[in-house]
Symmetry: D2
Subunit: 389 residues, 4 copies
Amino acid sequence: MTDSSPSGPRRRARALGLRVGRYAPGPHNAITDVVGVRVGHTTLIEGKASRARHKGGGPVRTGVTAIIPGVEDPFHQRVMGGHFVLNGAGEVSGLTQVAEWGLIETPILLTNTLSVGTASHACVRWMVDRYPGIGDEHDVVIPLVGECDDSWLNDIAGHHVKAEHVVAAIEGARSGPVAEGNVGGGTGMVTCDLSGGIGTSSRRLPKADGAYTVGVLVMSNFGHLADLRMDGIPVGALLAPDLAALKKRRRAYGSIIAVAATDAPLSAHQLNRIAKRVALGIGRAGSFAAHGSGEIVLTFSTANRVPRGPRRARPFTVELLRDTQVDPLYRAAVEATEEAILNAICAADTLDGVMGHLAPGMPLDRVQHIIERHYTLRADLAHASTAPG
Amino acid sequence: MTDSSPSGPRRRARALGLRVGRYAPGPHNAITDVVGVRVGHTTLIEGKASRARHKGGGPVRTGVTAIIPGVEDPFHQRVMGGHFVLNGAGEVSGLTQVAEWGLIETPILLTNTLSVGTASHACVRWMVDRYPGIGDEHDVVIPLVGECDDSWLNDIAGHHVKAEHVVAAIEGARSGPVAEGNVGGGTGMVTCDLSGGIGTSSRRLPKADGAYTVGVLVMSNFGHLADLRMDGIPVGALLAPDLAALKKRRRAYGSIIAVAATDAPLSAHQLNRIAKRVALGIGRAGSFAAHGSGEIVLTFSTANRVPRGPRRARPFTVELLRDTQVDPLYRAAVEATEEAILNAICAADTLDGVMGHLAPGMPLDRVQHIIERHYTLRADLAHASTAPG
Amino acid sequence: MTDSSPSGPRRRARALGLRVGRYAPGPHNAITDVVGVRVGHTTLIEGKASRARHKGGGPVRTGVTAIIPGVEDPFHQRVMGGHFVLNGAGEVSGLTQVAEWGLIETPILLTNTLSVGTASHACVRWMVDRYPGIGDEHDVVIPLVGECDDSWLNDIAGHHVKAEHVVAAIEGARSGPVAEGNVGGGTGMVTCDLSGGIGTSSRRLPKADGAYTVGVLVMSNFGHLADLRMDGIPVGALLAPDLAALKKRRRAYGSIIAVAATDAPLSAHQLNRIAKRVALGIGRAGSFAAHGSGEIVLTFSTANRVPRGPRRARPFTVELLRDTQVDPLYRAAVEATEEAILNAICAADTLDGVMGHLAPGMPLDRVQHIIERHYTLRADLAHASTAPG
Amino acid sequence: MTDSSPSGPRRRARALGLRVGRYAPGPHNAITDVVGVRVGHTTLIEGKASRARHKGGGPVRTGVTAIIPGVEDPFHQRVMGGHFVLNGAGEVSGLTQVAEWGLIETPILLTNTLSVGTASHACVRWMVDRYPGIGDEHDVVIPLVGECDDSWLNDIAGHHVKAEHVVAAIEGARSGPVAEGNVGGGTGMVTCDLSGGIGTSSRRLPKADGAYTVGVLVMSNFGHLADLRMDGIPVGALLAPDLAALKKRRRAYGSIIAVAATDAPLSAHQLNRIAKRVALGIGRAGSFAAHGSGEIVLTFSTANRVPRGPRRARPFTVELLRDTQVDPLYRAAVEATEEAILNAICAADTLDGVMGHLAPGMPLDRVQHIIERHYTLRADLAHASTAPG
């Protein structure tokens, strides 16, 4: 693979034949399969690749992704939220409050490390314009903004993400299919040495288990190629020789921010537990959660609304899942997380950026072949097992 | 004060004139003011004080306290529960599961350090007899058993707490007034160098704040006399000279287990937050949470029932308090905790035990005088403030 | 008290006769008594009080405080750090990383809620200029920036804190006495309805306990007047009638960020434990840690340096305190925290700001009188106790 | 496979050709490769399988495992310790204190759920006999005792583990090879529907990474067959049809206690981080950490001794690894954990017990074939990759 060779039309992991886990995905195999969840991206790719790094001079390889947590107005119709920090060498602005309150009351934004402040302020301003009570009758709002460092490709110090880009991501958020790969906050990001930032996947539980949906969206920027696994298949190790020619590889391990949504009626406390299973899914894709990595998980449930309201209002009523019924959701969270990461890589095209750096797109045909060969072997072995002996 | 001088008929802190905080207590000023919560004690005081410590030879100064968390059958009608570890040099058996599940499904037992296993097994057996499904259709049950070390007075190595004592505490649990001082699990315990183990208090919120009740029960075994404060009054420092004649004082700092109940409809997540405020109340009474201290808080809400049930049952419905309405409960938790600790001391009589050790009862008349003088001064100063200048 | 009445020349709490706790303060009774710790303030007070709130139009009542954690170059000579979140409705940017790494490698900055991003970016830029390796050979640096909301007095939406103010606070950081009250990040802040933002205090342990120093600095912006206690004396309740005439009082409960430093050789793990005792000190001053409050504690030890260094370097050597020796430090942390908060109030002058809001300075003469009367009573009662009966 | 068919002579996973991860194991591929760590088992297998469950009547399928954490006398030469709770529906007695103190000062014991008290008391008595100061000059000691529920095979209510069995495990602890499978605390346990309780594995880092060793020992009792993976190969799903004939399968998901040791000089804080990576390893073997599972990790480092000592002793000196150097240890912890679980299964023979329950031994020849076929395919695909195109 050379800089000039295109990595071909992109497909999702499932289009390569991959089947992760037991449950089927929802209609879009995306976090938006959780009804009401919407996703918007602002993607900023400008300027040619450069051999140097001139602050402000580009090239620009960055953006913002906004996730609307399942309600029209997250400020007045808050949802329950949870989190888990697998490794904390990163930031999700607003995380301390989610941990304390178990509530999410803003869009969730994903962007590069140096644009957290811009994203946060732009979101506050957007919310204040829209919901005039904020900061007046209500306390200050603290948006959730997760970050990874895209400086391997992006002129990060140029602060190219502006308030209008943040607002565009929020206002452009849609249900339905979600763009993946080099888009939104993940535009300039790299997963396991390959191009790949934003990925998503979902699982729909069988009717007998409640027919709930779990959707995961990741901004993925972590890992080493040799560790990459797809449904247990050591794809990264098999690809490594192909990519050995890459002149430069990122030294840093990187980070990943994962957001999991569900329509199952879970409490904040249960959502913290879901977040730990997302971490297991990150581990299955190949992460060992390196020292310098910010591996942070946010989770929310769209099932209940947590009202604001006058100080002396009545309690509100929620439905909650029985705790003995969470296991299928745990399993779904592991599965969807693994597949979301793989989708981020499969969907991302080769991209070059600052300092002559290059993030190669995954060679999809070769990966499809690797997967097919493994699945064929599995089928052979399964058949052997049941054959009359 | 000498070993022979009785410390007089015991009274509660409020009978000394003390008024901690803003809110009024419930009718019994006890954890049982939370409707449905019941408390039972088995108190074991046998044998004369001894100059030595003969394992198994007494004297016995120990017992068990049982708290039934507001339901007839905690196994099938579980309640939401929380916790906080202020300092973890101690054990509450079952704590890990409360932290994980946010549920309480057994009586809560309080006893001495070496009787945790006995209490736990006796409770399991009692529950299995009563609720035949356990361990069969349901998973194993793990009772909540908190401990403090009563070896300053008690022949702890004699293992004098037997299964029947545990069952008697559970089955003897009643609503209404709660015995305090040298009773139940707190029988042989010492608080701030004074006699005092079990104490309780409650707060009832004004109607405008929901008329909820918060009740706290402590098994208190911590601290140094000089640090003891009652409503901010440095009572311990003032008493210290009186007690300087005590030949021996416990070297260890000790521990405290606090249990807070409320009928406010709080989630597990909010109950963890309540538990932190109980810790603030422990601090106000004079604890700095020493290195060797097990300062562990359990909390539960009687408002909702968390059903067990078939794997494919429907979600259940609960009421939850709006998060903006928890502040009065936080305040009530701080207040009731401070007063519960003070009640443990005020109610406890002088008690002697092993090795010639003695835990003197608080000299109540003197303390009443100290409090009165302070309250008179406060009234004087308040009056001065509003006098026309 | 009216807007025109000055609240008199400001004094520290100790100058009013107050004596909190057992241990003596260090020479400056400040966090800077921990050798090497330096503090700098940029204070922005501009414009007359206004009846309205015009974004950008002032008045300006804000600033930045910088704490240099005991080393010349915190990036290359990192110190061990810890934290505790008493209530998490606020932000300390960089907190997740401190929790993960147990290290502090940047100045600690304190400012208003909407200036966190500015402070963080300015600090990164300052560090990159000074320590060229950052972001190149080393991973990105995440500064610690704590915030409270000063919008009761300050035109917070005007974003008056600029990068140069941040740099000025860092570069102006000095050892020795520390300005308190309406200065630095705490300029426009209010504690228990009184003026008061920055306060500090320290404790020096006796030689037999290692002669270690614990210093605390708070940016205090929390609470209700009626709850304020000084060494257990209900000063706030006694002052409340005087201040009843105040036309407007802040509705929000506010927040507090506390930073504790020590030269005792503590590990990250032990520093987390120290942070919990700082929380107890906050509770003693009158906080019940309200739902909407960001009560966040950072701690660090200057005793050891944690080197960066080549990937294959040898382990480094540190000294650690025996765990059985931490109790005096715990006690010192509680004491210094309470006094730091009280110093913030005592040192702060009456200040007016936006919307006709006013933060009255504590009436020091009256408070001194209240304290004196209480201490006289305590002395009387102590004397009575030892009098021959 | 039928009840009567033996599952053949047992081998370890590596003897089947399996190679998990990047690093090589230590000489015994066991936790004892960390110098000084010793392991002892008492295995209790008595009585024939039974169709019923008669409390006390057997059959007995249980035991105790003791891990001595790398020192002759763990009470006086304490080591630093950490933990992580992946899912907390279980108990490690003493865990709260490890979390608080970051120290391990007792043997670590593993046994069945109802023998935790017996194991704890026996250990305390053994320590008191051996180190007379305990409970006298020193505070009470709280042993670490982890449990899983072996009631699928064992007459657990018969309480067959006695104090002498606990002491025998402690005193029989040895360095060198460690027995695996149906031994010690794991005797009656089941992993992914197969027989298998105790397993161990280790990794030795290359010299350039410090030549440190990470060893893991698990008492494994979790999971469903269909989820079992070996180096990513879906062995469980392939075996499932063979085992479909099993009349009864355990309904409960079970639990796992994992203990990781290292000679790398890590602090308590870093050991907590290692424990999270052990959780990732559990996830790779096939766990999704079910609701009812107690998945609890303990970690310790043998590199430093944490002395007890007089209250006024000097600080002690330790070596610590640079934080940037922990990544190879994280990776090693993931690898050794996965392999330890697989060893528990590979080493365990078919075992029957109460109620006609049977835990079949893994069919090793078939698994070896599955692994060989996969590794052959991987080699083919790797070759293809580098072939001239």
